[in-house]
């Protein structure tokens, strides 16, 4: 496994980002959301890029984790750091359980099934107000405590940048491990992979579990960072947005989803005057990307570099 200097520099730059927005709360907040997006996109890439399945129920799993976190904290009077692993594990197991029927499908059919699961869970968030407070959502979520002090602002963004970098490093190790090799074999040709002794089902479940962990951890931090969640925070559009980060940046690479999230996640905040057109814009982007750059920005760059050789 080669560790390249430019990769390390990129990670250090990510870690340093909060220091540049320290003075400006608005920019700091945008950075926080962007770093969460980097973490989420990196996670989704493991299933979409490596294994070749497009998990549109991603945001639903984040949502389950976020609601579970708040429920556990309120019911059992535990703090954020104790509830985080519980909620994460809970949501990931639910995610895998919900995913089991769809995991045998592939390509378009898997995507369709995951879309249905996502829509159903969004509805469930609305119709079970005991846990979710329905469409009104839950506001004034208190931030996690550290040494008795609430974490917010600059410190929270530092934590999110550490989270994003950890997620990237983990994805890098998975990509280069035997597990990653199996994932890629399954993506390329699942029948052939099976005939070489690779259990397609088991490896897909493992990938699905890992991706659910990313979704869930991100969901827990999202809820406490923003301070407000509603079913809308975890609907189909959120899933599609994260997918767009991955596809726009470049699936199946480590850098791609990071680049995609860094470029696209801040846009809605910076173009707030265009709010009415936001969804149209992302729709147009989806179509353009699929047609013109199937490998995303980073994929196109890699292809250009290879052609120069």
């Amino acid at each position: 496994m080669k560790i390249k200097l430019q990769h390390v520099l990129m990670l250090v730059a990510l870690l340093a980002l909060p220091f540049f927005t320290q003075e400006d709360r608005f920019l700091g907040f945008i950075l926080g959301v962007t770093l969460l997006s980097v973490f989420w996109a990196t996670g989704m890439n493991i299933l979409y890029g490596f294994v070749g399945l497009m998990p549109l129920m991603f945001a639903a799993i984040s949502g389950i984790a976020a609601y579970a976190l708040l429920y556990f904290i309120a019911q059992w009077h535990i703090d954020f750091w104790q509830a985080l692993p519980l909620a994460t594990l809970f949501a990931s197991l639910i995610g895998v359980l919900l995913g089991l029927p769809s995991i045998r499908l592939k390509g378009f059919y898997f995507t369709l099934c995951s879309l249905i699961i996502q829509s159903t869970i969004t509805l469930a968030f609305i119709f079970f107000p005991t846990f979710t407070n329905g469409d009104t959502g839950i506001n004034q979520i208190s931030p996690p405590l550290w040494m008795g002090e609430p974490i917010k602002g600059f410190i929270f963004e530092c934590i999110l940048s550490v989270l994003a970098v950890t997620g990237i490093v983990l994805a890098y190790f998975i990509y280069n491990s035997q597990l990653g090799q199996r994932f890629i074999a399954i993506r390329e040709d699942d029948v052939l992979a099976e005939s070489l002794g690779i259990s397609v089902f088991l490896n897909r479940v493992i990938a699905f579990f890992i991706v659910s962990l990313y979704a869930a951890i991100g969901g827990c931090f999202y809820a406490t960072y923003i301070g407000f969640i509603s079913p809308r925070s975890f609907d189909v559009l959120s899933s599609l947005n994260i997918w767009l980060f991955v596809a726009f940046g470049g699936k199946a690479t480590i850098a791609g989803p990071v680049i995609g999230a860094l470029l696209l996640a801040p846009l809605p905040f910076l173009l707030q005057s265009l709010d009415a057109y936001k969804d149209i814009l992302s729709g147009v982007l989806i179509v353009l990307i699929t047609l013109l750059m199937p490998g995303g920005i980073y994929g196109a760059y890699l292809a250009w570099r290879n052609s120069k050789k």
Partner: protein, 243 residues
């Protein structure tokens, strides 16, 4: 001969496979011993590929027993059978086209790394199949013949006890067919082989024994010379233009 080695490597009893109202395989019985090279012939649609698909866990049979190396194969997945030592190739060539030849081989290695093919054996196979010069090419960019050899390489690193080849010379040029037959003859030293073919030429040169399948039924079983004289086989299969 000890009792163990006289036990068949592969034993199939009353195997039946049905698709709706059609019997793809009807009460097939046969045995195969370790070290033997078995051929299976039959016209298109006679159930040859279905037979391999059932044996390698892709289809579930309606009835019957299957045993490989003293273990029942019923209910086992394709990948579990690979772990037991039963490998297969496909009728149309199947490699990871977007990955390099080296990575194709590495992926095949994933399962049995602990089982350890020695470095000498690995190098020997690589030289024998003449794959070394193309190791760094994408496997979709090498010739069909090289892809067929890559398929063999990927199975050999799995140390199979039995290798099922589904039309291994399909699509090859005449000169390459001879070379492939030569390779398969040498392959017998490393594993037992089961070959599906619909051309008698390949079977004649390779197989110790031939099973003839027509419309899902086994109509003959014996040495190639005997099969070629069999009245029923001649009438129903060899007499036709394709054989």
């Amino acid at each position: 001969m000890s009792h163990l080695s006289s036990h068949p490597l592969l034993r199939v009893k009353e195997l039946t496979l049905r698709f709706g109202g059609l019997y793809a395989l009807n009460k097939i019985n046969f045995e195969m011993h370790s070290g033997e090279t078995l051929g299976m012939i039959g016209p298109n649609g006679s159930g040859k590929s279905s037979f391999v698909n059932v044996l390698t866990g892709q289809f579930t049979p309606l009835n019957g027993e299957m045993e490989f190396d003293h273990q029942s194969m019923l209910g086992k997945n394709c990948h579990q059978l690979v772990e037991m030592g039963l490998c297969r190739t496909y009728q149309s060539v199947r490699v990871f086209g977007n990955l390099s030849v080296q990575r194709n081989i590495d992926i095949a290695f994933l399962l049995l790394k602990k089982n350890g093919l020695t470095h000498e054996q690995y190098n020997h196979y690589l030289n024998w199949l003449k794959l070394r010069p193309v190791l760094h090419k994408l496997s979709k960019d090498i010739t069909l013949f090289e892809q067929r050899k890559l398929e063999l390489m990927m199975r050999l690193v799995l140390k199979p006890k039995l290798l099922m080849l589904d039309e291994p010379v399909g699509g090859l040029a005449t000169s390459e067919v001879s070379e492939m037959i030569q390779l398969l003859n040498e392959l017998k030293a490393y594993t037992s082989i089961f070959i599906i073919e619909h051309t008698m030429r390949v079977i004649k040169e390779l197989a110790d024994r031939v099973v003839v399948l027509i419309a899902g039924e086994k109509i003959a079983d014996g040495p190639p010379a005997e099969i070629m004289k069999n009245k029923r086989v001649i009438n129903e299969y060899l007499g036709s233009a394709h054989a």
